[in-house]
Point group: none
Chain length 411, copies 2
């Protein structure tokens, strides 16, 4: 038996007046998810704890059986791993923006004209940089999509207890990075970052890519602003923790990074955009191929579009995307010899346009589960299911038990 | 008001095709349990945590309100206490087999021809043994039922971080006991055990009981193989923890041992075999007598047959035994002034033939409980009950509250 956990990012929601007080999932026409609910055991799940607003990262970490309060210090490490950097435990990692700074040191565009091309060339000028006075610290820098990038600091005596440099609004200079505790490590790291931001401007202001952009009337990507600091955690690899060879099919760098740091095999899918326009056909093919691979015993799947629609407050878009995902479910349901778990990582209500702590529905389908009377997949139908209310941290324990891979505790 | 917790060992199960996708409990005709469900409050319970495969020992420990992750290191201490040895905190205790070893040092029968008689005499030769070089360590040894026995080491500088000597299969020599950490204590204990196994053979190979067995063509019980090591925990006695004078009516040494180590009064029942052939009439009489005893305010009851049937994969046997137990319930229900809790310690599904992490149903009957609409006792009917999904560690708190014996936390 294999295990598949499929997470529809941000699918959970709240009743909306515009939908006759139904949630988008309740309003959507989802015959396949409903069928899955009918033949499985249902419940609601708090990714972390009731009422706690989980991030996608902390929720996935929790569902995989790691304690986010222990291992999660920030988003940087997962973003870095997600774009393919080989981070190691102890690295201090950041998300960055390519931004535009004027000659007075003021940020005039946090996203550098939403730059899409040339960031690879720009990154070459930053990667492997040695900062004066901090030559012992390795600087790894890589562009991500659009105006995004990641920065990794590697070396002794550094810390994740530092603030962001992103001023959040245009018209201000980069925010001075400060140490968030009294340790020498944090103070040193803050100095490194301030020097890094300053140096990035010196190195990039006349970079050929930027000179061309200025010529074309585009904002240059002439300064790098790190934020979202985190220390790369020392995770017991998933395969070691559970004895399951695992693959991760995800769209966003954040979730790919979680898979990567947990030691999973990342499966790239062409056309997986992370939006509602994503290529669900290709994702489905990937899932089916991976499930057939003898070398894979567990698949973590994340599909991101519903979360995007939630963040954008796009009600109809969210309903429609859930209906699109429903067609995928019909195919995954047919994979043999699998425990299939369908759930979300958190709610992203249309009305809030951000994550909330409302629990999400969960179905477990597979041999010998205690099938219940629920025959609809929704936040409220799931409540009367056989799982009652569980937590993200219970999911892997329940799956391992069903897969008969658990050790007995005691006699 | 008194409290009774009755645990039907291993009663929980999974839906079985052969039973029309009912569980044995669902398939069994249980009018009395169903009546109890109707007049009580119902729910499902995870003995430890969702998905965790509890042993009978760790589950009972948890239900009694002790943390198994803190106090449980292995089965030995409970087996030892269960057959009447007065163990004390810090003792290192083992389960043992009387086995047969040939002159080449090979174990030819792990159960010494399933010896039934003469083990008391054999044990006399081992009990109080002083091992050369370890004269400071007291050795307490006592036969249990059949080929089983227990060993207790008492003294300074010993540890439970040692391996088993049982090779698990015939045709191999006793497994060399090794220390499982680098401590001097563990190394010393491993040496003691290896010497103990070796010495047991020297002392027993020509023991009169064994000479007679050999004469009769039976395998001699000429070597002792310890396993299941554990350190006797320092439990706050149940009566002190809850202010309730408690009795334990159990069939197996393991559960008796838990009662004993928690300081409960052990009630012996004639004909209680721990199997499906047990004398339920005598058990019922014992329960009623104990409940009438003014000196007893709490009774822990364990009936083991359903677990045995589960381990043996005997579906019909399990259904029938549950039906037999149902007749007991009718009598216990009639005891006045009692909060009566009926549950299981874990699931032992027919299909798995071992414990699983599936939750078990629980009923609490007594004055003023919030009676719900559940009118059937089963794994799935219980889900819609008023208790929802609780944990083993919640049970005593709920009972103490109902019994009005709880202290308020706060003002």
């Amino acid at each position: 038996m294999k295990g598949i956990i499929m997470i529809i990012d941000g699918m959970g929601d709240r009743p909306l007046k515009e939908l006759g007080y139904k949630t988008p999932l309740e309003a959507a026409n989802t015959p396949n998810m409903d069928k899955l609910a009918e033949i499985g055991i249902n419940g609601i799940m708090d990714p972390i704890r009731p009422g706690i607003r989980a991030g996608s990262d902390t929720s996935h970490i929790s569902i995989l059986g790691y304690d986010p309060y222990e291992v999660y210090t920030g988003r940087g490490p997962f973003e870095a791993a997600g774009i393919g950097l080989e981070v190691i435990a102890g690295d201090i990692a950041f998300r960055c923006n390519f931004s535009t700074q004027d000659e007075n040191g003021i940020i005039t565009d946090r996203r550098a004209g939403r730059i899409r091309e040339g960031t690879e060339k720009i990154s070459e000028s930053i990667n492997n940089l040695k900062l004066e006075g901090f030559e012992d610290i390795e600087i790894i820098f890589k562009e991500s999509t659009g105006h995004r990038a990641v920065l990794v600091l590697r070396g002794e005596g550094i810390s994740d207890k530092v603030s962001d440099s992103d001023p959040k609004n245009e018209g201000k200079p980069p925010k001075e990075v400060i140490s968030l505790d009294d340790s020498q490590e944090a103070q040193k790291t803050a100095q490194i970052l301030n020097k890094f931001v300053e140096t990035s401007y010196e190195l990039l202001k006349d970079h050929p890519v930027n000179l061309k952009r200025i010529e074309k009337g585009e904002n240059p990507a002439n300064v790098i602003l790190p934020r979202g600091v985190g220390a790369v955690p020392n995770l017991v690899p998933f395969s070691e923790k559970y004895g399951l060879k695992a693959a991760c099919i995800a769209e966003t760098g954040l979730i790919k990074g979680i898979g990567k740091i947990a030691g999973m095999n990342l499966i790239e899918v062409e056309g997986a955009t992370g939006g509602t326009d994503t290529n669900l056909e290709n994702i489905t093919k990937s899932i089916k191929n991976t499930a057939e691979d003898d070398n894979c015993e567990f698949i973590l799947i994340n599909i991101d579009g519903a979360d995007e629609a939630g963040h954008d407050g796009q009600m109809e878009e969210k309903v429609k995307f859930i209906e699109k995902v429903d067609t995928v479910i019909s195919e995954i349901m047919q994979i043999d010899d699998v425990y299939f778990i369908l759930t979300a990582d958190h709610s992203t209500p249309i009305s809030v346009m951000d994550h909330t702590g409302d629990p999400v529905p969960i179905i477990i389908k597979g041999p010998e589960v205690r099938v219940d009377d629920v025959n609809k997949f929704s936040e409220r139908a799931a409540v009367s299911g056989g799982l009652c209310r569980i937590r993200g941290s219970d999911v892997m324990n329940i799956l391992m038990d069903l897969m008969n891979k658990s050790e007995k505790f005691g006699a």
